[in-house]
Amino acid sequence: MIIKTPSDLTAKVAELKAGFSGKTQLLVSLGTCGIAAGGSPIAAALRKHVTEQGLESKFEVVDVGCLGLCYCEPMIEVKAANGKSLIYGNVTEEQIPAIVAAGADKVAEGLQVQATNIYYPEDQEKPEKKVVQTRIALRNSGRINPEKIEDYLLKDGYQALAKVLTKMKPEEVCQQLVDAGLRGRGGAGFPTGKKWQFAAAQPKGQKYIICNADEGDPGAFMDRAVLEGDPHAVLEAMAIGGFAVGADTGLIYIRAEYPLAIARLKKAIEQATSYGLLGKNIFSTGFNFTIELKYGAGAFVCGEETALIHSIEGKRGEPTFKPPFPAVRGLWGKPTIVNNVETLANIPAIFRKGAAWFKSIGTPGSPGSKVFALAGKINHVGLVEVPMGIKLRDVIFELGGGITDGREFKVVQIGGPSGGCITAKNLDTAIDYESLKALGSMMGSGGMIVMDEDTCMVNVARFFLDFTVDESCGKCTPCRIGNKRLFEILDKICAGKGTPEMLDQLEELSNVIKDTSLCGLGQTSPNPVLSTLKNFPDEYKAHIFEHRCPAAVCTAMLNYIINDKCIGCGLCARKCPVNCISGTQKTRHHIDQSKCIKCGVCMRTCKFAAIDRK
């Protein structure tokens, strides 16, 4: 069926609603994380059980994207037509009969359900609870089958596009986005409406809109979740953007490492085209818009917009100096909008509910919500979408469930390799673009890596610089050579070969790289060094002056030694991966330091605290 007018769309939705079964849904999270944790066999077993028990009239198994509770995958959500829902985590096949038998009204005997604190501002009143997730970009992720456009249509899908095309002028579209105050979620936080106005103001002719799905920050996966869980939201937003700036072609630049997201996007484009929601003469308005996929090939710098454009042109993905901005001269020299996936995913909601609604969420300077990917030493690894202005403490300790194994919080790294670390004393900061910058960190894409007391900050800085050196494209000297030298200095300090001058050298070199690099990669790459130097000078000094790694991480400076509490049980010797522990039964054992790889397995397995780390 081709949807030719907004009333066709309304009719189609009414038809879908009429056919709605009212069955209890069994949602199985099948994003990359869910599949890796074994979600597919669970979904298959669930289907088999429902069929074998003849329960098809009551239950329906739905494959959905990621709900963000990655810490308890595989998971099953039992959701009744009246909205009641129960979420079971770490599900095994044996638990399936009990879960299905209990339905959505009561918790299956002997099992626990996961508490959720998610609220959807488009559909619900804000709950009284103090700390809640506020989901706009992730509104459909984990709720609908991403491979069925009908599911999206039932969630008000393509209504925003219908409204924009039939009731608004392009200038009004840009203006509404300016009024909403949406800022880019891909890193820099540039106002999206302004960017669209720039491109719209360029003379008529070929223009492009590009979705940046390169998600290069290692440890951030929100864009992947959106693409795998709600691909149509991105397509709809791109079409709205195309109309606003006068572009008839959209491109999605996606990393080749995301095969599942690619497959779902392809399917979504096909379905939208077959309904006439992409293609020629959309909603009979004469507006044409098509979307193509372009693939990355493993280069972090290609997330930078000018580099990305060169990569689409088939060249090496090296950035160029701005201005001219892509909105003026972009892909093949034509005006081009580059927007991040999450930015785009917010846009349909803004046109459904209005600019004032969007502005009522978040802070005046940074309206709306932001998705963060929580990872590292935190209990609830996964995705949270929170209103801007929320306190870091609430994100980490309330929504994130605190630090693993009851350890002490040390820092949280926000903004990936371009960001900086935030320590315990700043946990009450209200998060927005400006406050994070003031702390020497940055919003970046929204990766939030939590580290505990067992983390060595010098080693962390070294890790990020290793990444930057790998990923620097080499076009400008400060970034190519400067970062390499920074890395070498940090490497020496971690190896116990640090000298006092290095402290000043690190700082000076960092500032030169920041000031003189060509693109955002080099301009931000020294941030991890500067922020660890500023917050943890004592750790640097301990490495340099005392040849000691306070967190006992830098292996060159530590040894594992068996003390006289050893009773000779031999457990450590059996567990040692390199067999470097010897000794006879019931006598004190000994570690051969020349073979020891300092993995710490012995210390963790010893039940008698007989192993010291010095």
Partner: protein, 177 residues
């Protein structure tokens, strides 16, 4: 031109002789691309062509680069420039079991480097190398998106989660031809 009865074999002829099926497959894919006289627009198909070629051949030997160059009317040097820029592409054959340890930030924080070191010791190869028998390749990746299972190891398509150095020998033993 002089007569040359024993004509030497060109790179493309060699490829067609050694890998006739794969070559035909790649040519068939390139046939679907709208290649024309305009170098600029041909270039836009280079990266997808390289992806396909690597998918077919497993890597991008110089004969394959030559074929792509001729079909897209680009120079060999430009193609090599692109291959060497993107870490996804490789011009060396890699092992049948591609062991990739995730060294993204989440995995790093949970000790991925110890896992890399253990693989390196047990397989006696360094990161980025393939074992002499051509079975194992050891590489690192940046975030495979399964951070909740950190540290993560991927062997071809199979994902191992919460990997410790002690699990390494079992993972290697799981690799059966």
């Amino acid at each position: 031109m002089t007569c040359c009865c024993e004509k030497t074999e060109s790179a493309l002829e060699k490829l067609a002789r050694l890998e006739p099926e794969k070559t035909a497959q790649l040519n068939a894919f390139i046939d679907t691309l709208p290649i024309g006289k305009d170098i600029e627009s041909n270039r836009a198909h280079l990266i997808i062509a390289l992806h396909q070629a690597q998918g077919i051949f497993g890597y991008l030997p110089s004969e394959v680069q030559q074929l792509i160059a001729e079909r897209l009317k680009l120079t060999r040097s430009e193609i090599y420039g692109v291959i060497s820029f993107y870490s996804y592409f490789t011009d060396k054959p890699i092992g049948r079991f591609k062991i990739n340890v995730c060294c993204g930030t989440a995995c790093f924080v949970k000790g991925a480097n110890l896992v890399v070191e253990q693989f390196s010791r047990e397989l006696n190869i360094k990161e980025g190398e393939t074992s002499a028998d051509g079975r194992f390749f050891l590489g690192v990746l940046r975030c495979v998106g399964a951070c909740s299972l950190a540290p993560v190891v991927m062997v071809n398509e199979r994902v191992y989660g919460n990997v410790t150095p002690a699990m390494v020998s079992q993972i290697i033993a799981d690799c059966k031809d």
